[in-house]
Structure formats: structure tokens, C-alpha cells
């Protein structure tokens, strides 16, 4: 019964395809899966927007949206209708073709990432051998879309926002990749399906998720930081800092194109959380062995929602960084730590499986973290200024 529930979507697909001639089955199967992904994730996006507005409100002791539907749940629908009925303005001096293409490219690139995400047992659209590589390659395309938007708008705020976005995304792309490489090193595979399977076994009823190892924990924290920056979320939301740059690279977008950018941003958040959950939190595997009967896709989407909530929580807590702080943090703190973590992961791989490697690996990481925090991130103190010529 629970096995059936676990595989319900797979069985449903096979049942539907059973009515078709064998020649058509692979093609129609792919189209059906794509259609489901294209419908489900925007639905989750709508829910996320509601959750974000509600959660941020509660963190600021407000109520959040509560007018449209019960608890304001239909607010995203109202927002969608509003953005559809708005006038689509294109600046006279804008490069119309690129201006039109930018949001499309962004959304397409982000959707491509979902193709390789294992969302449950046997639930992956394309089981590639190098799916992690594919994911990051496609994910990097969104930078192009952002710069297309900023450049084609012919607006100084758009351009500044796009420059910031590209600088930030390229800077954090490196630690993002580096922090995921340790997982590949230990698993010995770039396939996300294999990575989940490698974590899906239990000792004393507890899972072997990579987050429960010293290098995995460090990599997860670094990955989370880089992912936050990569998706332009607060506190790294400089590219769209409303107080400085109107709306950043999508200043000149209105109506549904604006909504597409919004959608692209949240989908990027969802997919990067999905990859994070797959790499470090065991993907669709359950957190306790006795809970294995719960359908795998519930665990995957549950982990997704938890990480979205953490994103919202961070946004409700932290103020925006300054550009130089952002860059210093990426190159002077996150990147060295990810490089060190590669070394620690290698050490873990080649040491014997006993308590010693836990102590050694944890000690190295903790010591370097403390040292870097003290010295590397030392604040420059500006004392009272002395003007020698005036003395």
C-alpha cells in the first residue's frame, strides 16, 4: 500500500502510457513529465510567495496578507491576475528583442535545472551520469539572462544592477561548485541519483547523510551561503537593492515580464534548495529508518519547504551587505574555506573509519574557521582622524 503511494506518480505515468502505441511512449512520457514539472513548481512558487509575505510579516509582528481568501491564501492568484492585466511597457530606446528574450531565457534556464533533480524514488526526468555538472552549467546561464535584461533596458539602474548581479553570481559560483565537489569526491559520481543512493542507508536507525560528517557540515554551510548569494536573496540582494537601484536589473520591466523574473528567481531558489537537499540532506530519503514508509517525494518536498523557510528567515533577520563586504566575504573567507574543505574531505576518505578521523577533520575545520573569523574577517577600525598639516 505504502509502496504504491511512494511510486504513485510513476505508476500513473505508466498507466497513462499504456494506452499509447509503443513507438510514441518515450516522447509522450517526457512531454508529460515536463508538463507536470512546469505546472507543479510554479504552484509551489505561488505558495512560497504567500509563505514569504506571511512569514516576514510575522517576524516583524505584522499579520501579512489576510484579505484574499482564507488566511490570504489566494493572494498570489490576485497578484498574477494583476500582473497579467498590466500594461507591458518597453522603453523607446531599449533593445526590444533582447529585452523580450531576457525573462524567457531566465525562466527556461531555471526550468532546465529541474530536469536532473531526483524528486523521489525513481522520480527523475533525465537520469544523467553527470547531472550535477549539467545543473551548474545550466544554472550559469541565468547570469546571461540577468545581464541581457540589464543591458537591453538602457537604464543606468538596470545596468548597475546587472553589473552587480554578474559580479556577485560569478564570485559565488566558484564556492558553490567547490563546496559541492567534496560530495562528488566522496561518492565518486556526478549523478544526483547515485549521490542520493549513497546517503540512503542507516546505522542504528539514523541516516548517513553527508551533513552529519565534519566536511559535509562545513560544505553545507558554505553551500547555503553561496546559494543565497547565487539566487540574489537577502542579505546578498545587492543587484536589486530597492533603496539604491529602484529594482535592479528588472527596473524597466512591467506586467507579465516582471512576473516572469519573479518566477525565475523563486524557481532558482527552489532548484538550488533541491540540489542542496540532494547533496547534503539525503534527497528523498527519510531522516529516520522507521519513517521509511512515508512516500519519498513527501520527504523531498518537505526538505524543499524547510530550506525555503530558512531563506525567508534569513531575509527577515539580516540587513543587506555592502559591495566590498560581499566581495571580501566571497574571496577571502568562503573560497579559502571551500578549498580547505576539499583537503579535509580527501583526508576523511583516506583515513581509517574510526573516531580519530572525526576528531582530526573537525579540529582542522574548527581551528581554521575560528582563525579566519578572527583574522581574515577583522574589521578595519577607523579611529579619529589626525590631520598632520593642521597640527
Amino acid at each position: 500500500m505504502f509502496d504504491k503511494l511512494d511510486q504513485i506518480f510513476v505508476l500513473l505515468l505508466h498507466w497513462l502510457l499504456g494506452y499509447l502505441p509503443a513507438v510514441l511512449r518515450p516522447a509522450v512520457g517526457v512531454v508529460l513529465c515536463v508538463a507536470v514539472i512546469v505546472c507543479v513548481f510554479p504552484a509551489i512558487f505561488a505558495f512560497c510567495v504567500w509563505l514569504e509575505r506571511k512569514g516576514l510579516g510575522r517576524m516583524q509582528n505584522r499579520l501579512g496578507p489576510n484579505r484574499v481568501g482564507p488566511f490570504g491564501l489566494f493572494q498570489p492568484i490576485a497578484d498574477g491576475i494583476k500582473s497579467l492585466t498590466k500594461e507591458d511597457l518597453v522603453p523607446l530606446t531599449a533593445d526590444a528583442v533582447v529585452h523580450f528574450l531576457a525573462p524567457v531565457v531566465l525562466v527556461v534556464a531555471v526550468f532546465m535545472g529541474f530536469a536532473v533533480l531526483p524528486m523521489g524514488r525513481n522520480m527523475v526526468l533525465v537520469d544523467m551520469d553527470s547531472s550535477l555538472l549539467f545543473y551548474f552549467a545550466v544554472g550559469a546561464t541565468s547570469e546571461l539572462a540577468v545581464f541581457m535584461a540589464g543591458w537591453s533596458s538602457r537604464n543606468k539602474y538596470s545596468l548597475l544592477g546587472a553589473m552587480r548581479a554578474v559580479a556577485q553570481m560569478i564570485s559565488y559560483e566558484v564556492p558553490l561548485l567547490m563546496s559541492s565537489v567534496v560530495v562528488v569526491m566522496i561518492t565518486g559520481s556526478l549523478s544526483l541519483v547515485k549521490i542520493v543512493e549513497a546517503q540512503n542507508h542507516y546505522t542504528w536507525g539514523l541516516p548517513h547523510w553527508y551533513i552529519f560528517t565534519p566536511w559535509g557540515f562545513a560544505a553545507f554551510i558554505l553551500y547555503a551561503i553561496a546559494a543565497t548569494a547565487e539566487t540574489n536573496r537577502s542579505p546578498f540582494d545587492l543587484p536589486e537593492g530597492e533603496s539604491e537601484l529602484v529594482a535592479g536589473y528588472f527596473t524597466e520591466y512591467s506586467g507579465f515580464k516582471f512576473a516572469l523574473f519573479f518566477l525565475g528567481e523563486y524557481l532558482a531558489m527552489l532548484s538550488i534548495s533541491g540540489v542542496g537537499a540532494t547533496l547534503f540532506l539525503g534527497g528523498w530519503s527519510s531522516p529516520l529508518e522507521i519513517l521509511n514508509w512515508v512516500p519519498s517525494w513527501i520527504w523531498f518536498f518537505g526538505k524543499l519547504m524547510v530550506s525555503i523557510f530558512v531563506f525567508i528567515w534569513l531575509r527577515g533577520t539580516l540587513p543587506r551587505l555592502r559591495q566590498d563586504q560581499l566581495m571580501n566575504f566571497a574571496w577571502k573567507f568562503v573560497l579559502p574555506l571551500t578549498l580547505l574543505n576539499l583537503f579535509v574531505a580527501a583526508l576523511w576518505r583516506f583515513m581509517d573509519d574510526n573516531w580519530l578521523r572525526w576528531v582530526v577533520c573537525s579540529a582542522i575545520l574548527m581551528a581554521v574557521y575560528a582563525f579566519m573569523g578572527k583574522v581574515g574577517m577583522r574589521r578595519e577600525h577607523f579611529g579619529p582622524r589626525r590631520y598632520r598639516y593642521a597640527e
Binding site: G55, R58, M59, Q60, N61, R62, L63, W313, L314, G316, T317, L318, Y369, A370, M372, G373, K374, M377
Partner: protein
């Protein structure tokens, strides 16, 4: 250690998040159209014209006769966004002192332009224009609907007492004092005139008129 501050901050927002579901005191939001807070004494939006209900000069409806405005047009000149338009009358009517004054035949305020700065109130020497509290002025006609004429602007002194009780009492006291001074002066002038007339009469009686006798 690095990151301690972030954890502290996360704890604080988590407390807020959880607390807002538990304690009602945390949520200060007022659900506006259904609930509302009573406006404070000094709140203000858009000016209105005060009229006295005690009709002094007759002619026209109550509000028109009792309007304190003498169309001196100071407010029109001082208004920074120039949202006031006044047309002065040709004839005069008696004001609350009993003096003959001009009155406005047209007094328009475009509240789509008005910025509620209260400068018109500050400069008015006749205490005739005051700030209102009625802010729900939205309309579907953005030209005519937001151009208030003098009939829409005119509101009785009782209304002024209702919305700004302290300020209105001060204004009334000031007007009463001015009226007392004016009346005293008028009485003194009348007495002086009477005394003069009486003296002239006495003199006329004391000195016989030779011309009349001669006639």
C-alpha cells in the same frame, strides 16, 4: 566567534515569529476598514470653511450667511501648491462683529493638489479656514469629484468643536474677546456721540437763537 551575531539575530526573529501567534499584544496592526483608531486631537487633512449657525444677515441658506470668510484672498496668495481659487463679491454683508465685509461668491479647493500644509489656516486673520479630519475622500471622478466648492467646504462651528475641541474653544474665546473690545469701543463711541449730541442740545437751549427770533 564569527557568525554569533547572525545566530542571535535569527533567534530574535524566531521569537517574534512564534510570539506573534501566541500573544495578541505583539500585533499592533489595526484592521483598518473594520476597526479604526480614534484620530488624535492634532491630526489634520484638507481645510474646510467655518460658518456660525447664528444667522446674522439673512439671505441665502444658513451656511452662506454665516460664513466667516471675508474673501481677503490671503490664503489664496499664500497657498504653496496654489490649490485655492476665490472670487470676491461685489456687495457686502455683516460679519459677526456687525461690520460690513465682502464675502466669497466662489471658494474652490482642489484637494488633488492640496498638501494639507495648514499654511492657509496660519495666515487667515478671520479664523474662517481650519483643518479637517475627514480623509476618506476617494472618488471615481478625479476632476470634479476632487474639486470642492464652498458649499462642500462649509461646515458649522459645532463640527469644528467636535473634531478639534481644544483649538476650537481657544478660537471662540479669541473671537468673543475681539467682539467684546469691538462692542465696548462701539458703545464708547456711541456714548461719546450721545454726549456730544446732548452737549450740543444743551448749548442750543442755553443760547437763544437770535435769528429765529428775528424772523
Amino acid at each position: 566567534m564569527l557568525g554569533e551575531g547572525i545566530l542571535k539575530g535569527l533567534l530574535e526573529t524566531a521569537k517574534n515569529f512564534a510570539g506573534s501567534y501566541v500573544s495578541k499584544e505583539r500585533l499592533t496592526t489595526v484592521q483598518y476598514p473594520e476597526e479604526r483608531l480614534a484620530p488624535i486631537e492634532n491630526s489634520r487633512v484638507f481645510p474646510f470653511l467655518v460658518y456660525d449657525v447664528e444667522n446674522r444677515d439673512g439671505g441665502g441658506p444658513d451656511w452662506e450667511a454665516g460664513l466667516r470668510c471675508t474673501s481677503c484672498q490671503i490664503c489664496e496668495k499664500e497657498c504653496p501648491p496654489k490649490c485655492i481659487f476665490i472670487e470676491k463679491s461685489k456687495d457686502k454683508k455683516l460679519d459677526y462683529l456687525g461690520k460690513a465685509q465682502f464675502y466669497p461668491t466662489r471658494f474652490d479647493i482642489d484637494i488633488s493638489v492640496c498638501m494639507s500644509c495648514q499654511i492657509c489656516v496660519e495666515v487667515c486673520p478671520f479664523e474662517s479656514i481650519k483643518m479637517d479630519k475627514h480623509f476618506e475622500q476617494s472618488t471615481d471622478d478625479r476632476f470634479g469629484g476632487l474639486l470642492l466648492d464652498r458649499e462642500q467646504l462649509a461646515k458649522p462651528n459645532e463640527y469644528y468643536h467636535q473634531i478639534h475641541p481644544i483649538e476650537a474653544a481657544e478660537v471662540d474665546a479669541r473671537l468673543a474677546a475681539a467682539k467684546a473690545v469691538f462692542d465696548a469701543k462701539a458703545k464708547a463711541a456711541a456714548a461719546a456721540a450721545a454726549a456730544k449730541a446732548a452737549a450740543a442740545e444743551v448749548a442750543a437751549q442755553a443760547v437763544p437763537k437770535p435769528a429765529s427770533e428775528g424772523a
